[in-house]
C-alpha cells in the first residue's frame, strides 16, 4: 500500500464540479472533488445516499446522465485528460482502459444475448482476438471468476444465472480487456450477505492479479474495511476526509466520519442506544454556507458557519474540518 502511494497516480481527479441545470437554477452536485488512485490501488468512496459518490464514478467514466455535466476541474487517466473527450473517443477508453461494474447485475447484462456473445463482443471490440481465440478468452475469464462448468455456461442467457453468478459475469466483462482502472458502483449491494463476501474477495483477488486499480463506491463501511487500501468519505458533494482505511476507521479527524462510524451497529459490542447523527444530509438546493455539515455538527463554531474548509493534514488522514486547524476549539 505504501509502495503504491509513491508511484505516479493512475487516476487524478482535480476540483471536479458537476452541475445539473434546472428550471429553478443550477444545482451543484459535486463541488471541488479531488483525489488520486495509484496503479493497483483500491480506493473506497463511501457516503450516504445523495453524497455524490455514484455521480463521481459516472463523471469519471463519462456516463453522466444529461442534463448533468462536468462544469469544472479535470480527470486524468495515466496523465491524459479524459473529462473533455468526444463521446466516440471516450467509448474506446471505456471497456479498454476503464472497466465498470454496477449495482444490479441483471440490468447491466443484455437479456437477449448469451453471456458468451456479450463477453466475445467486448473482447473483439477492444482486443486483437477473433473467433475461437476470443471465445477461449471468454471461457478463461468465466473460469477465473469462479463460474462452474464455464464451457457450457458460456452459451447460457443471463436469466439462467443466479444473482451472485450474474455479478461474476459482470466482473468478467469488466476485466475482459485488462483495464487499468475498474469503477465498481455498489457491486454487492443487491446481493445476499453470504454472496457479498464471495464477490468482494473475488473482486479484490482478480484486481490484484490483473494489476487493475479500483474505485469502489459503496455505502457499506464493512465492505470498505474488508477490501480497500484507502478511503474517501463524501458528504453533500464533497470529499470531507481521505486517508488509509485503518486511519479513517480508527483515527478519523472529521466529526461526520466519527458519527458515521459510531452509528453502525457493532458485532463486537452491545450498546443500549446507537450513536446517531441528528438531522439529514442537506438537499442540493439548500446546502448550508460554510461547512455543509455544520448544522448537524456537535462541535461547530463561528468559522464553520461562514467559511468552507478544504482538505488539510489531520495527522493520520486529511480532513476538511476547521477543528483540525484550530484544535483548541474541540474542547470548547
Amino acid at each position: 500500500m505504501s509502495l503504491a502511494h509513491r508511484e505516479a497516480p493512475l487516476l487524478k481527479v482535480r476540483d471536479l464540479r458537476v452541475e445539473f441545470p434546472t428550471r429553478h437554477g443550477t444545482l451543484v452536485a459535486l463541488d471541488g472533488v479531488s483525489f488520486d488512485i495509484a496503479p493497483g490501488e483500491i480506493l473506497g468512496v463511501v457516503g450516504e445516499s445523495g453524497a455524490g459518490k455514484s455521480l463521481t464514478g459516472a463523471a469519471i467514466i463519462g456516463l453522466l446522465e444529461p442534463p448533468g455535466r462536468i462544469a469544472g476541474g479535470e480527470v486524468r487517466l495515466g496523465g491524459e485528460r479524459i473529462d473533455n473527450l468526444p463521446a466516440r473517443r471516450m467509448r474506446s477508453i471505456r471497456g479498454r482502459r476503464i472497466g465498470a461494474i454496477f449495482q444490479d447485475p441483471l440490468t447491466s447484462l443484455n437479456p437477449l444475448y448469451t453471456v458468451g456473445q456479450q463477453l466475445i463482443e467486448t473482447i473483439e471490440t477492444h482486443l486483437p482476438l477473433r473467433g475461437a481465440q476470443a471465445r477461449q478468452r471468454a471461457i478463461d475469464l468465466l473460469k477465473e471468476t469462479g463460474i462452474p462448468a464455464a464451457e457450457a455456461r458460456i452459451d447460457h442467457y443471463p436469466h439462467q444465472f443466479s444473482g451472485g453468478m450474474r455479478q461474476r459475469v459482470v466482473i468478467a466483462l469488466a476485466l475482459a480487456a485488462n483495464p487499468q482502472l475498474i469503477v465498481a458502483d455498489e457491486p454487492t449491494t443487491a446481493l445476499d450477505v453470504s454472496i457479498q463476501a464471495q464477490i468482494i474477495s473475488l473482486l479484490k483477488r482478480l484486481c490484484r492479479e490483473h494489476d487493475a486499480a479500483v474505485m469502489l463506491v459503496t455505502h457499506d463501511m464493512g465492505v470498505i474495511a474488508e477490501s480497500c487500501d484507502r478511503v474517501a468519505v463524501m458528504y453533500a458533494g464533497r470529499v470531507i476526509e481521505v486517508g488509509p482505511v485503518q486511519a479513517v476507521i480508527h483515527h478519523s479527524a472529521h466529526p461526520y466520519t466519527l458519527g458515521l462510524m459510531a452509528s453502525i451497529p457493532s458485532m463486537s459490542e452491545e450498546r443500549e442506544r446507537l450513536a446517531q447523527i441528528d438531522g439529514t444530509m442537506p438537499r442540493l438546493n439548500a446546502i448550508p454556507r460554510g461547512c455543509a455539515f455544520n448544522p448537524r455538527c456537535p462541535h461547530a463554531f463561528d468559522r464553520c458557519r461562514v467559511e468552507r474548509p478544504e482538505l488539510m493534514d489531520a495527522g493520520a488522514t486529511r480532513a476538511a474540518c476547521w477543528l483540525v486547524s484550530e484544535p483548541a476549539k474541540e474542547v470548547a
Binding site: V193, G222, L260, P265, R273
Partner: protein, 344 residues
C-alpha cells in the same frame, strides 16, 4: 424430543406469550398456466415458502428472524398478520387462533391490535395523501377518534412521538427524506395503539446514520409503550442491536432459535456460523473467517435431507437423506444432525 413437543411444553410453562406460531406451513402454487401445462406436459409446481415453523414471542419482547432472500421470513410476517392464510398450522395471538378471528365478527378489533412497518418508505406511503390523512387513516378506519379536532390533535401527538412536528401534517410524502418517511410509517402503525408490530426490514432502505435514528426510536417506543416486535432483517448487526431472541431461517425452515446473546456468542448451526462469518469486520480484529461456499438452492427443488447440506462443511450421508428436526440442545433449538450427534 421433537420441536413441537418442546414448543408445546414451553407454552404451558409460560402463559404470557403474545404470539404463538405452531407448525406453520405456506405453499404457493407457481405452476405454468393450465394450457401450457397441458400442451408442454409441465407438472404443477409448488414452492414450500414456509415449511413447519414454530416459535413464540413474549409480551414486550422482540423476536428477530434472519435469513437470505427467499428463506421465507417475509412470508412468515404476512402469515402472522393474516395477510396470507396458512396452508397448515396456526398462529395464535393472545391465545386465540387468528384465522378464526379474522373470519368472524371480531376481525377489525384484532387488526387494530397488530400493525406492520414495511421496508420501503417510498412505496408504502401514498404520494397523493397528506401526512395527516396517512396517519389518521387507521384512526378513522377503526372509528377510534370521531371529532375532527380530536383527530388532528391525536395525529399531532403521534407525529411528535416519532420525532416529527405537527407542522408536518400538511406536507406530502415526497417532501420528506427516507428516514422521515419511515417515521411517518411508524406513526401510522402506532395510530391504532397496537400491541404487536411486525417490522419487515424497516431500516434496510435507509443510510446508516438514519438507520441508527430509526432503530433508537423503535427501541424507545417499545420501552415506553410495551410493544412486542417481530423484526425481520438480513442484517445480523442490526438484529443483534434490537432483538431478544433470534430465529435463523433457511429455505422456509427455522434452523436455529436462541436467545440473542447465546446465538451470537456460540452459534450452533453451520448456517448461522456461515452468516456470522460473512459479515465484514469493520474493526479489522483479524477474527478467523471461513470462506462462504455456494449459494442458496432453488426453492422449487430444495435438496433432500437437510436443505443446507450442499453448502455445509460437516455434511455426511445422514444429512443428505434425513431432514433434521428442530430440537433442544443446551438451551437453544437447533435443526442439525451434526450438533445432535456432537460432531460439530
Amino acid at each position: 424430543m421433537g420441536a413441537r413437543d418442546t414448543i408445546a411444553e414451553s407454552v404451558t410453562q409460560h402463559a404470557c406469550a403474545l404470539v404463538e406460531v405452531d407448525d406453520l406451513h405456506k405453499r404457493f402454487d407457481v405452476s405454468a398456466p393450465w394450457l401450457n401445462r397441458v400442451l408442454e406436459r409441465k407438472p404443477r409446481q409448488v414452492v414450500h415458502a414456509v415449511d413447519g415453523v414454530s416459535f413464540r414471542i413474549e409480551r414486550g419482547k422482540t423476536l428477530a428472524l434472519v435469513g437470505e432472500s427467499g428463506c421465507g421470513k417475509s412470508t412468515v410476517a404476512r402469515l402472522l398478520l393474516g395477510l396470507y392464510a396458512p396452508s397448515a398450522g396456526c398462529v395464535r395471538f393472545a391465545g386465540v387462533d387468528i384465522a378464526q378471528t379474522l373470519a368472524g365478527h371480531d376481525a377489525r378489533a384484532l387488526r387494530r391490535r397488530m400493525q406492520m412497518i414495511f421496508q420501503d418508505p417510498y412505496a408504502s406511503l401514498d404520494p397523493r395523501w397528506r401526512v395527516e390523512d396517512i396517519v389518521a387513516e387507521p384512526l378513522r378506519e377503526h372509528g377510534l377518534v370521531g371529532a375532527r379536532e380530536a383527530l388532528r390533535e391525536r395525529v399531532s401527538d403521534l407525529l411528535s412521538a416519532v420525532g416529527l412536528s405537527a407542522a408536518d401534517m400538511v406536507k406530502f410524502p415526497h417532501q420528506f427524506s427516507g428516514g422521515q418517511r419511515q417515521r411517518i410509517s411508524i406513526a401510522r402503525a402506532l395510530a391504532s395503539e397496537p400491541e404487536f408490530l411486525v417490522c419487515d426490514e424497516p431500516t434496510s432502505a435507509l443510510d446508516v446514520s438514519v438507520q441508527a435514528q430509526v432503530l433508537n426510536l423503535m427501541r424507545e417506543l417499545q420501552q415506553r409503550r410495551g410493544l412486542t416486535y417481530l423484526f425481520i432483517s438480513h442484517n445480523l448487526a442490526v438484529v443483534r442491536h434490537v432483538s431478544d431472541d433470534v430465529g435463523v431461517m433457511y429455505l422456509g425452515r427455522l434452523v436455529e432459535l436462541a436467545p440473542k446473546r447465546t446465538l451470537f456468542a456460540s452459534p450452533r448451526h453451520p448456517y448461522t456460523r456461515m452468516l456470522l462469518d460473512a459479515i465484514p469486520d469493520i474493526a479489522m480484529t483479524g477474527r478467523a473467517r471461513t470462506p462462504v461456499r455456494g449459494e442458496v438452492p432453488n426453492p422449487l427443488a430444495p435438496p433432500q435431507g437437510c436443505a443446507f447440506h450442499p453448502r455445509c462443511p460437516h455434511a455426511n450421508d445422514r444429512c443428505r437423506q434425513e431432514r433434521p428436526k428442530l430440537s433442544s440442545f443446551k438451551g437453544v433449538l437447533v435443526a442439525c444432525h451434526g450438533v445432535e450427534e456432537g460432531r460439530i
